[in-house]
Subunit: 498 residues, 2 copies
């Protein structure tokens, strides 16, 4: 073994004023030298006395540093012999998987994304300030897994007033966005014996995948101009149904009154749970929003909502309003998942609701979004006059039929070369269907909408149709990129071991 | 069917200045009357003209209200006949499960709870203000599932500096507290073929349950004065091991240097993953904290930390630092679980870290907690001199041996009658072991510690020992209460159907 004798050979340099303490610097330098292999395992270190003299520090510094690194496993000491660098097993560290973020296109027609540039920062900060001023220990310790009582109370009042629900704080569980709420609910339903859930077709592809990931089978039920074809439920052996009654995703239709009644009758007869996804009911431009189904049958409906489409997705504020039989179970599932959502933001949201902040914000954005919808309709009419448009009355996106044989994915790829991101309907269909796009308009200015549609029209004119269009499974670009990297890594490992 | 003819018979009252719009009031009144059964299914409503006249409102109000309630399913209309109240299926709504919060005791010796009354509110609010002032659309849209880049960067710098890790922002995933991080990691390990995980015994009972809930078997490995008995790992067929090397939970011992080396050798030979729970490494009162294992073997160690024990559990800020092969998979699992944690709080945490807010806070609280530890030691010495105390050097709790035969649960119940909450070690043992308590001291004042221990000593003196003490499975009172309610409900349903 090589006998190292001086700080110069160790290439250690420490100095006053360079870091928190001389000892801390010495430890860091030694750790780095050992990690990089510059000091290989087995190397003998100089004595603490010699090193202290070399570095011009007191011997206490070197003694404590060696002790620390012995405790951490970087060095080893044996009585009567030199302190040495510990021999470390070589770990085959794969090169870092650099998870690049997906490049943001100039025109992103992402459906369901509100305009976050109008997020009410000042009001939100004021709410946060009031909450922090008033916060007691309860607000800073481990959260109630259902969410802070004040937040559940303010939310119950809000949904009762604006969504015609029958909500009580004891029936509410706050969660991290709609996505977590659906997963928690799915896990609880499964633990209560539900094995299959009916879903709308077309219907949200991510939610279908969420249900499947939680061990539930999904049974697609067609949607027509009156929403879910409720009569088809009778032929299915399902314990629950996931519906978007106020504004069907992605077609934008409203569940017809007689079907609302039939749906609740079916649920009562089957003792099935109706999962009501009230995802963007606040946006109905030409008349009043339709009240929630939950208000008609609170014992049968598990209602989900979120602030992602009204305020900002980054808040990750969602909620469940549950039948009595489910609320404790969902709360326990929430506790197990993450011990509850962050409390200060819940309290800020409560304060914001109590001061009518959300009403004010919606009054402000509704006309903005309506104008953007009108701009999108006008652009489509002038640039792509042949295409049928659905879902005009409400929401944050339109559904646009494409010429038969159009490959949604090829079109999306071609549009991306023009920095236009569009979203095919394919991932939201359980079975192949006519090609269509979902065009979100809320987060784009009117001139961007016009420019984006002009580019899209040019791309569409040069995209050939095909007899067998590709089918995409995942709609979200971020998820798609991550899943592709994981799949590539799986394949690579398969090659290595196969 | 009864023919209702007037607003007075309907008991409807609306008026100007009582709500947002006359129509909204009318709709709310009708919904409420239908829900409560005051207007039973089939009841015919007066014509819109007659009702408008009765109420003294324009006919437009009644027409639009009826249309709205027809769309929502409260009313039905058939051409040429009166609008009627819809017949609703009766849902056997169980009485609301009133989920009471557990009463807070006067003296709560909860282990691991920091003193949230010293939470740096002003600095945190300043960070939030800066973040909201500077926030771009990226900060308010759908989050990066791994967490905001700025937060991952600040955290990587922080753990590298204070925990001697080898962290890079690309290897970090922010999550909702430690609990979610462990669950995400467990799910990914399972998907990669891991079936069993070694855990410390005693070791955190909640984490053992988390691993099991994610489908992993656990294999307990005894802990002695040098931490995990690493040589016992060789006899086990496990793909990972969960360890608390810097400060073992709950005993408070430090993993001995030679065992650190042996653990990493074992992991390299088995290609196993070391899950390093660095839960309260920041609190070491008598010397420097021990650096993380991760810094010695970044390719083999999945490192978890959180702000719950340094700042406040309510923030729900936790993080994972992962080997390259796991990071995309954990990010995808995080996306599926909840689409990422709230962004604004991550950015506030980044700002807080960048300004050395956490260092400053820890410098402030460490001496406070040390004094409280000393107060607890003094109180135990004077009131309960016979009991052996462990885990003194670090952390936020002590472990106190109880006289043989003491029933931890009976003692805890008796203490609660004196408004003292104590925590038995039982839920953290894989096998029955000698009775002991975990006494957290960080969130109690010195005088409360003295008073609480005095009460505890009195209770202990009157608690009889037993040959077969009860064993508790769940340590957390909130979880215990929820789980008990769910179990009682299950039993009730079993009786009803059985």
């Amino acid at each position: 073994l090589k006998r190292t004798t001086s700080a110069r050979e160790l290439l250690l340099a420490i100095g006053r004023g360079r870091g928190p303490t001389l000892r801390g610097q010495l430890e860091s330098e030694l750790r780095a030298a050992i990690r990089t292999g510059r000091l290989p395992g087995g190397t003998a270190l100089p004595s603490t006395r010699a090193l202290a003299a070399d570095l011009g520090v007191s011997r206490g510094v070197t003694v404590l540093a060696y002790e620390q690194l012995i405790a951490e496993g970087y060095l080893t000491a044996a009585t009567g012999s030199a302190t040495r660098v510990a021999t470390r097993p070589s770990h085959s560290a794969a090169p870092a998987a650099v998870a690049r973020s997906v490049d943001a296109p100039r025109y992103d027609f992402r459906p369901g994304l509100p305009d976050v540039s109008v997020f009410p920062r000042r009001a939100w900060l004021s709410s946060l300030r009031r909450v922090l001023d008033a916060a007691t220990g309860d607000a800073l310790g481990y959260p109630d897994p259902r969410g802070a009582l004040q937040a559940r109370t303010a939310l119950a009042d809000y949904v009762n007033r604006t969504r015609a629900t029958v909500a009580h704080p004891d029936r509410m569980v706050l969660c991290s966005g709609y996505a977590q709420g659906l997963r928690l609910l799915a896990a609880v339903l499964r633990s209560r014996g539900v094995r299959r859930v009916a879903v709308e077709d077309p219907g949200h592809g991510g939610q279908r995948a969420d249900l499947q990931a939680m061990g539930l089978g999904v049974r697609p039920v067609p949607v027509d101009g009156g929403g879910l074809q409720v009569d088809r439920l009778r032929r299915l052996d399902v314990g629950a149904v996931l519906v978007t009654p106020a504004h069907q995703f992605p077609t934008g239709v409203v569940l017809a009154p007689e079907r609302r009644a039939a749906l609740l009758e079916w649920a009562a007869a089957r003792r099935a749970v109706v999962i009501e996804d009230d995802y963007d009911a606040e946006y109905r431009f030409d008349r009043e929003p339709i009240g929630a189904l939950q208000g008609l049958a609170e014992g049968a409906v598990a209602y989900l909502g979120s602030a992602s489409k009204t305020l900002a997705p980054a808040l990750r504020i969602g909620w469940l309003l549950l039948p009595a039989a489910l609320v404790d179970r969902v709360a326990l599932a929430k506790l197990h998942a993450d011990h509850g959502s962050p409390t200060l933001e819940q309290l800020a949201f409560a304060d914001f609701l109590e001061r009518d902040g959300l009403d004010r914000h919606l009054r402000k954005v509704r006309p903005i979004y309506r104008r953007r919808r009108d701009a999108l309709l006008a652009a489509l009419k002038s640039r792509l006059p042949g295409l049928r448009v659905e879902g005009v009355a409400a929401g944050l996106h339109l559904m646009v039929s494409l010429p038969p044989g159009t490959d949604e994915e090829a079109l999306a790829d071609a549009a991306m070369t023009q920095s236009v991101r569009i979203y095919g309907a394919g991932p939201h269909r359980s079975r192949p269907g006519p090609p269509a796009l979902l065009l979100g308009y809320a987060s784009l200015s009117e001139s961007d909408i016009e420019a984006g549609v002009a580019l899209l029209a040019r791309v569409l004119a040069t995209t050939a149709s095909t007899a067998r269009p590709r089918r995409a499974r995942i709609w979200d670009p971020a998820e798609r990129a991550l899943a592709a990297r994981v799949a590539a890594d799986d394949a690579e490992r398969g090659r290595q071991t196969g």
